[in-house]
Structure formats: C-alpha cells, structure tokens
Symmetry: C2
Subunit: 368 residues, 2 copies
C-alpha cells in the first residue's frame, strides 16, 4: 500500500497500536527464539500448522510498525488461497450470560469431533467487556490446555474498525493453518455486532433463563441477527424457566420475517457449566452449515461479506480524510451551531462543508 | 451552494429531475396564475398558511433546475425558524395492509381535533409501491376534500436519498405553514424505512390480522423500529383473530430490549374501513408525544436526526465523488475480481482504490 505524501489529505487506513508480545496461555505453544523470519518462512509455517508461527504472524497483524504491517499483508495474501475452509461462528451475549464457560464446553465438544478450533474476540476495550478474553486465564480452562485450540485475545486497544479488520485477517491465517472452526466472541452491548455479523457464517446469541421476560441488556436489533438463540443455565431448578423462556423466544421469532438464508432460527436450552445440551448446539451449527452449503447461501453470504468489508474500508478512509481535514475541522463547529439552531438545514450545512473540503484539496494540491 | 468547476471531482448533492407541475386533488387549492414570485413572497405566503404557495414552493424543492433549487434553499432557510412545532409520524405497512384507508380515517379524526395535517410520502418509484400516493385520487377520499389537509405525493422519480431529502425539506415548509401533524408514508418493503425513521418522532407499523403468524412481507428490523403496531381489519369475524395477533405481538415486543425513548411500544387493534379504534390510535400518539416531551427525548431525538442527515449527506457526496471518479471506475472491476477470487483481501483492495482516487485528485488538480 502506497502512502501519499500529503498526510493531511489522506490519513490511510487506521492501524492502531498493537501488542508487541502477548502472554501465552497454552502450554503447547512453546516460545521459540526470535529470529528474523521471511514472509515465506511464516507462510510455510502457517500452512504446516505451526501454532507458534501463526501466533507470531497474528502479532505482526496487530503491530503498528509499517514494516510489520507490510509483512503481515504479504503473509495474509499468500495464505488467502488456503483460507475459507471453515465454519465461522459469532457468539454474543451480555457479561454474565456465561460466554466463557459455554465456549469452553462447546469448544471441547467440537475438538472431540476431530476439529480444530480458533477462538478470537472482537471487543477492543476491556472497559466495555469487563475483562478481556485473556484477562482471566481460567476463563477457558479446558480449551487453554488443548493443542487443537488456538485462543487469541482481542488487541487491547484500537478503534472498532481497526480491531474488526485485524480479527478478520486473523481468521484468514487461522484457516490457512488448518483451523476448521472459528469462534468470534463479542459482548453484545456495544457496536461490534454488525462487524461480527459481517465476518461469520452463523450468529449465536446466548441468553439466560430466569431473569425476567426481557433480553438482558442486549442491544436492539441483535435478536433479528441471530441464527440461533441458546438459553444457558438450564439446569436444576432452572430447567422449567429456561424452557418457558425458549418457548417465548420461539413465538417471537415466528413473527419475524423469513431470513435471507431461508433458515429458521432455532432456540435451544443448555447448561454450559454442567455440559447439558452441548451436542444439540453443535448439531444445530452443523445442520445450518449443510443447509447453507446446499442452498448456495454459504458462498453467497461470504462474497457479500467480502464486498461489505471493501466498501466499509473505503468509506472509512474517505470519512477519515474528510473529518481530519484542517479546513473542515475549523468550519465544523460553526456550521453545527447553525444547524442545531435552525439557521441552516443539515443539507446546506453538508454542502458547505463538502465545498470547503474539495476546494481545500484543489488549493493545496496546486501548490504541491 | 457553490459548484466546483471540476465536475469529475465533485458531483454535488444528488438532485433529481422533479415534477414541474403536479395535479391538484384538493378542490380548496385553486390554481393562481403563475407569476414570478420572490423568495419573500413565498415565505410570507407560507407563514400565512397559503396552501397554493406552499404547494408551489414544494414544487421548487422537487425541481432539478439550479435556479429553482437555489430559491428553494432560501425559502427553506427562512422558514426553518418557524418549523419544528409538530408531531411527525412515520406510517409503514406492506401494500394491501390498508394504509390509505387508515390514513384517511385517522387523518379525519385528527382534523376534527382542530389540527392541520400534511400527508407526505417517501417512496420514489411506483413500481415498488404498486401505485403512488397520487395515482388513485380516491385513495384518501375524505382527506382530499379537507382544507386542513395537505396531501403531497412523493416525487415520481429519483434516488431514495434524493427523495428523502425532499420529503424532509417539505416537512419544514409544511410546519412553517401551520401544519402541526405530519404523516410520512412508506411501503415497508424497501430501503426507505431508515430514512423515514430518521425524520419522524413516532414510527407506526400497520399489520393485518388473520394472515398467519408472520409479519406479512415486512423487512427484518422494521418491527424493532416501531413505536406502535396497529392491527387493521379488526372487524366482524376478524376481531378475535386480530386480538390474538395483538397478543402475539405484545409478547414478542416484551422480549425486545427497552427503547432509547423509554417508551414501551403499544399494540392496538382497529378497523380503518369501519373507523373502529381510531381514537385509541390518536390517543397513543398523543401519549407518546407527552411522554417524550416530558422526558426531553423529543428534542434530543430531533437533534440526533438533524446530525444524522448532515452526516449522511456528507458521506453520500464523498461516496459519489469516489465511485464516479474515472480512475476508480476503471480499476474497480479488476480489483473486485482479485478480491472475489481470494487473491487480495478486501482491505488491501480498498487501499489500492483509495490510493488511486487521491493520486488522481492530486494529478488532475495540479493541471487545473
């Protein structure tokens, strides 16, 4: 990627400060002595399923150094033809719904099917999620000891767009390394659900039984995204409550218009802690995969998602260039004041700012 | 609004071909002989509640002539301080749900409260809606004879963004002319709901009883936008079915997260044709208005909407400039091919196009 000389004109795609070295929680991942590896070393290692090299390549993706970024992009590009052969599952639920335990238990079930599982996350700030995926080593106690599981926390800082991009690029590398099942975790209270929804094949919503009728703090619109709702803590005294909640959800989902996939979202009860109903969740995911592959929707959706990311990235760059333009920044407060006090419509205000922006570009590039 | 000289660089805000002269369906609106009116003539007329001048000003808004557009913008700007004093209601429902009859009956009830009602529409193409708001004069038989009703069809052609903008500008003029209740109608199957949702205070969804469990052809996501769902044709043998449907909707809405407004969406049964339950609908709208004004949400939402339109208009112009750029258009097919065949990530593809765009701008403005 070329960087234009004029930085005020074009800020480039946002790449945020990454983590130089993340702690390992899986004892199977041994530190190797750092030496300068070539792009081909990385690619070969990843295609061989070398987890250490996969992990180091992800660190390059997360780095903000231009040289790292360049290398990362080359690695990703060479891995692209080997990617795609997986089931990508987005998992959301508010803090307290039992996401970690559920991922741990469901993940173990998946690994026992002979599959390889990568668990990624998309929430950049631990303030929102109340603890990053890595913060607590015991969060995924069983998975973190499995050699067929690759758990990677979300980069600890950065814009949502930046983190989402890194997560999506990490998926490519994981798939090239042979991981055939990808979990992307998010907390379900922020802005990240659209981003997750746009990188997974199946969107799973975890809810709790027995905390009243309402979706517990989940954002509006998320329920309509869900391909499956699973109700946790359906154990002991809670079983009946969970089943009642499930029947409420089923009735509600029937009122929704048919999804584009032609798939009717399922509602299941389970217990992440006691491992009840886990097989049924995986069976549902598997049934969806067959359904979507048979109908051609699986590929169709992935192509749509790819186009979406391209469009989003372009618009992000255009917005960035506009809102960071000095003239626009100087004029904006005054214009906003006019608009909010009914002296200008939002349309004329927008036109005035757009004029300013393009005339700045004309003037400043004439001097260059 | 200034137009930059370089048209390839900046296409300006989309203004579509308007209708020079729309037929009148209200006998109270007498044609006056066309003479050249000044901006102040228009503004004075509108503030006096002169419907003929209001109507002609809306025609200026819809015109694609630059001179008309300039005049329209001046009129709107002068009317802005007198606008805002109304209840804006978005009404959606699939064709066949009985929107016209419902608007006619509810509108008459509203006028009998001493209010003045403007009925606007936002669906540009009659192919989608299956008949424009004006196509059938008998669609709003009672309202079209009322002098306190102003019915204005959607411009017959144009992009959604363009039509939405015109509708929103028309609201300003209607309010300045003393209309204190605004209906914005849409068909509920297209892309227009977000636009409508972003210009109204209350979003009303019309559904039919007795056609099965599912939302009849309504787009996903619309139900979560609704502040109220009203179930039509609750008359005769249909009453029980309607009540059953209402109770299903109520249960489903309880599962949704609380709306930002703090308002719990209501579900009502009525009959547009027999005029049953109409008072209750208006009472609901009125209750919402009081609720939102008391909580401060009414003003807060309108400010948010204004900002949203400004942002949308800016991004529309940026996108337009980008995607109409010759170099971008030439490169796009090749890049898309790379992306869809896994030779490039959507991110590097976007970066390549963005680089091309800004380097085109630098080169071409250097020659200017």
């Amino acid at each position: 990627m070329q960087h234009p000389e004029n930085n005020d004109l074009y800020k480039g795609l946002k790449v945020n400060k990454g983590i130089a070295d993340v702690p390992m929680i899986n004892p199977y991942l041994k530190r190797v002595r750092r030496k300068e590896l070539t792009v081909d070393d990385y690619v070969k290692g990843i295609l061989d399923g070398n987890i250490t090299l996969l992990s180091r390549a992800v660190t390059l993706i997360e780095s903000q150094l231009a040289s790292h970024q360049e290398m990362a992009q080359q690695i990703i590009e060479k891995c692209l033809p080997y990617s795609g052969n997986s089931m990508r599952i987005g998992i959301t639920g508010v803090p307290g719904a039992g996401k970690s335990t559920s991922i741990d238990t469901l993940g173990m079930h998946i690994i026992k099917q002979g599959r390889k599982l990568a668990v990624l996350a998309i929430d950049p700030s631990s303030e929102v999620s109340g603890g990053s995926i890595l913060g607590d080593k015991t969060r995924m106690e069983q998975l973190s000891r499995e050699k067929n599981a690759f758990i990677r926390p979300s980069p600890s800082a950065g814009s949502l767009g930046g983190v989402a991009r890194k997560t999506r690029e990490t998926i490519v590398l994981c798939e090239a390394a042979g991981f055939d099942t990808i979990f992307v975790e998010t907390v379900g209270v922020g802005q990240s659900e659209t981003a997750v929804h746009s990188m997974v094949d199946f969107f799973l919503l975890i809810q709790l039984a027995g905390t009243g009728d309402e979706l517990q703090g989940i954002k509006r619109g998320i329920m309509e995204m869900a391909d499956g709702i699973i109700i946790n803590k359906a154990d002991g005294d809670n079983v009946q409550k969970a089943q009642l909640a499930a029947s409420h959800y089923r009735n509600a989902l029937r009122l929704f218009p048919k999804a584009e996939s032609g798939w009717d979202p399922k509602v299941l009860c389970y217990s992440g802690y006691y491992g009840i109903g886990i097989k049924e969740i995986w069976d549902m995911l598997d049934a969806y995969r067959h359904h979507a592959i048979d109908s051609g929707y699986f590929t169709e959706k992935r192509l749509k998602q790819t186009k979406w990311w391209m469009k989003e990235t372009i618009e992000d760059a255009l917005r960035d260039s506009f809102y960071h333009n000095t003239d626009v920044m100087n004029l904006l407060p005054e214009i906003e004041d006019h608009v909010l006090n009914d002296r200008m419509t939002p349309f004329t205000a927008a036109a005035a700012l757009i004029d300013k922006y393009f005339s700045w570009i004309r003037q400043n590039t004439n001097q260059g």
